[in-house]
């Protein structure tokens, strides 16, 4: 029997028992959409977690610290120095490396003060690290006391002497600014004796575009300048520069930017293998992804139960259909239907039930997904995702996977009945009245 005839005959047979076919398909629709919607909640949750973590900082940046493991014989903890920085640059999938120095200080603009983290960075690496400029330019190698402001810094200026709150207008690009590493600038207590911190005149060269929580708050400057400033600060505070073997060599922290989020894990492992400590938001992401995956598995399992019931429904329908059509099958066998034809016919019918159920199931789940998202606040909160905009996400591959899987379920469910039909004795069958 040719495929087109098989198709025609199969559809005709299903059409003959419209109600039963419809009810069976309905079962598959419910099963398929249950699975799809449940899985879509998992995807939505996973996406939500990812977005949330992406707000905390760049997911493709690895923070490398000096290793702290117990020194073992034959294994030295490597220094996090320029040599290490160079070696990181040679790693595969790494696009930029910069040592980072972070301290806390204040930016002074006349009476107004903004306290903020001050970060020293290799000016040449800024662009590669993905810093986006909103105004002005990024740092370059010739800069010294030049700074780039985080996007939200403008709103951090306050007048410490003011008794009531009032709005402060600062023009970051044009106003004269100075910088101090005095952590309590402007907040002195009466009678307190304080070290004499230096104030540095600074020149603003740019303001960053709105980014994540880390880059929006703080100011950036060349790391070499910040190193000098920290030395000054230590002097002012009366600390003696560390000397001899106690002197910590190299940097506290080095940031490594990776080209793609999927390579972060690999690069991180490699750096750890070199003897350094490495952290990234990816760690957090992996953990939450695992969590989301677990929730998804539980939800999917609930959906799978209903698809299982639907599969049994298909088998039942096909077995009933064979009882009804026993004679017909016998006649077909006698007048020349091969065993293969009979099997194909029944498998096709059950596969079609599965496929139709899957297809309409996809449609139904889009509708359900729409409704879930419309009332997503409550659903999201129930699942622990506060403030998620879209809690149900149906990826396009899931659509095709669901349809293929439903058809597959149909074939599996129809396998036993099809075998049964195939093995019916033609003679017995035509004797059946």
């Amino acid at each position: 029997m040719s495929s087109i005839d098989l198709f025609r005959m199969g559809i005709k047979n299903l059409w003959r028992r419209k109600l039963r076919t419809f009810l069976t398909i309905l079962g598959v629709i419910i099963g398929a959409s249950a699975i799809i919607v449940m899985l879509s909640l998992g995807f939505g949750l996973s996406k939500f977690f990812e977005e949330q973590i992406a707000q905390w900082g760049d997911l493709t940046i690895i923070n490398v610290y000096k290793g702290w493991a117990e020194p073992m014989p034959g294994r030295e903890i490597p220094d996090l120095d320029d040599k290490a920085v160079e070696s990181f640059k040679l790693l595969q999938n790494v696009v930029a490396v910069s040592p980072i120095l972070e301290t806390y200080g204040a930016v002074i603009n006349g009476r107004n003060v903004a306290n903020a983290p001050i970060r020293g960075i290799d000016p040449a690496s800024m662009e590669a690290f993905g810093f986006d400029i909103a105004e002005g330019r990024l740092l370059n190698n010739t800069d010294s006391l030049h700074v780039v402001f985080g996007s939200s810094m403008e709103y951090n200026f306050r007048d410490p002497k003011a008794r009531v709150w009032r709005e402060v207008n600062v023009n970051l690009m044009k106003d004269r600014m100075s910088l101090t590493l005095d952590p309590n600038y402007g907040w002195s207590m009466p009678g307190e004796k304080r070290p004499n911190y230096k104030e540095y005149k600074i020149k603003t060269v740019g303001i960053l575009a709105e980014g994540d929580w880390e880059t929006s708050y703080g100011i950036y400057m060349p790391i070499s300048e910040l190193q000098k400033m920290i030395k000054d600060k230590e002097k002012a505070e009366g600390q003696r520069p560390q000397s001899g073997s106690n002197r910590q060599s190299g940097y506290d922290r080095v940031n490594v930017k990776v080209n793609d989020i999927k390579n972060v894990q690999d690069v991180q492992e490699t750096i750890k293998d070199l003897g350094h400590e490495a952290y990234s938001l990816n760690d957090q992401l992996e953990y939450t992804k695992k969590q989301a995956g677990m929730i998804q598995a539980v939800l999917g399992g609930i959906g799978a139960v209903s698809l299982l019931v639907a599969a049994i429904g298909i088998t039942n329908t096909m077995v009933m259909s064979i009882y009804e059509r026993t004679k017909e099958i016998g006649v077909m066998k006698v007048i020349g239907a091969s065993l293969r034809d009979i099997r194909r016919l029944f498998l096709f019918e059950s596969a079609l039930i599965g496929l139709l159920g899957g297809t309409f199931g996809v449609g139904t789940s889009y509708l359900l997904s729409f409704l879930v998202n419309k009332f997503s606040m409550k659903f999201g909160e129930a699942l622990g995702a506060y403030g998620a905009t879209k809690i149900s996400i149906i990826p396009i591959w899931l659509v095709f996977a669901a349809m293929a899987f439903s058809a597959f379920i149909g074939i599996v469910s129809g396998y036993f009945p099809a075998r049964r039909a195939m093995n019916l004795s033609a003679l017995e069958a035509i004797r059946t009245e």
Binding site: K327, E328, V331, I335, G336
Partner: protein
């Protein structure tokens, strides 16, 4: 004449619980090409079993069935089906039409399994139905036709692929006398026209006169084989 079917020491034993029932016992028979054979016997004589065995629907307990060059008794179900598809047509007592299909669809169903394209098989089925006198009832369902008409559809279905052999199992068992004659004339006439071999099973001696030879069966054995001198030649239409 050329031999087409050879049955050699054919035996069939059914088991009914602990009891053995010998349906056929040591049947040896040779049927020639283009011959019309009537298997005549009362119910339980084994005539239908013999027919089913020749059509490959049942396996003998012992013995050989050779049709042309095909050893039917040795072939598996798949090969027998293929053989049947190409070489055998069937007419049943109870018509065995598929109730949900129209006359045309019933006739062309067998051609479907032979992978003949729809337009061609519809044409073939239409011509065949016209030949059996149902040219105006192509799209009627079996339930909308009389017994005689249903049997005509069934005959059209058996002959449409021009098989070498047509088996007819009590083709007129459910029909009145007048229709019986019409149907028998039709079957033998068509088989005669296309030089086909016809094997008719019946308990009715009035039917058996359509055969060249009449094989009398009794309790599973051949009682006698009689040359029929007064053969009635059927005519299609």
């Amino acid at each position: 004449m050329e031999e087409l079917i050879r049955l050699k020491n054919l035996r069939k034993v059914y088991r009914m619980g602990d009891e053995k029932i010998v349906a056929l016992n040591d049947i040896t028979l040779s049927i020639e090409k283009e011959e019309f054979i009537c298997l005549l016997g009362t119910s339980g004589s084994g005539k239908s079993t013999l027919l089913n065995m020749m059509a490959g629907l049942e396996k003998p307990t012992r013995g050989e069935i050779i049709i042309g060059s095909y050893p039917i008794h040795k072939m598996n179900e798949r090969d027998v089906t293929k053989f049947r598809q190409k070489n055998v047509g069937f007419v049943f007592q109870s018509y065995n039409l598929i109730p949900t299909l129209s006359a045309l669809e019933n006739v062309s169903l067998g051609l479907t399994f032979q992978r003949i394209p729809k337009s061609k098989r519809d044409k073939m089925a239409k011509k065949m139905l016209t030949d059996v006198g149902l040219g105006k009832r192509l799209h009627h369902k079996p339930s909308e036709m009389s017994g005689g008409q249903q049997q005509r559809v069934s005959i059209a279905r058996a002959f449409v692929g021009t098989p070498k052999i047509v088996f007819a199992d009590e083709p007129t068992g459910n029909l009145d006398t007048k229709t019986t004659m019409e149907i028998m004339n039709l079957i033998t006439g068509m088989a005669y026209e296309s030089n086909q071999t016809l094997i008719i099973v019946t308990h009715d001696t009035e039917i058996s006169v359509y055969g060249h030879r009449i094989v009398y069966l009794r309790d599973g054995s051949i009682e006698k084989v009689e040359e029929n001198q007064n053969i009635i030649k059927g005519e299609a239409n």
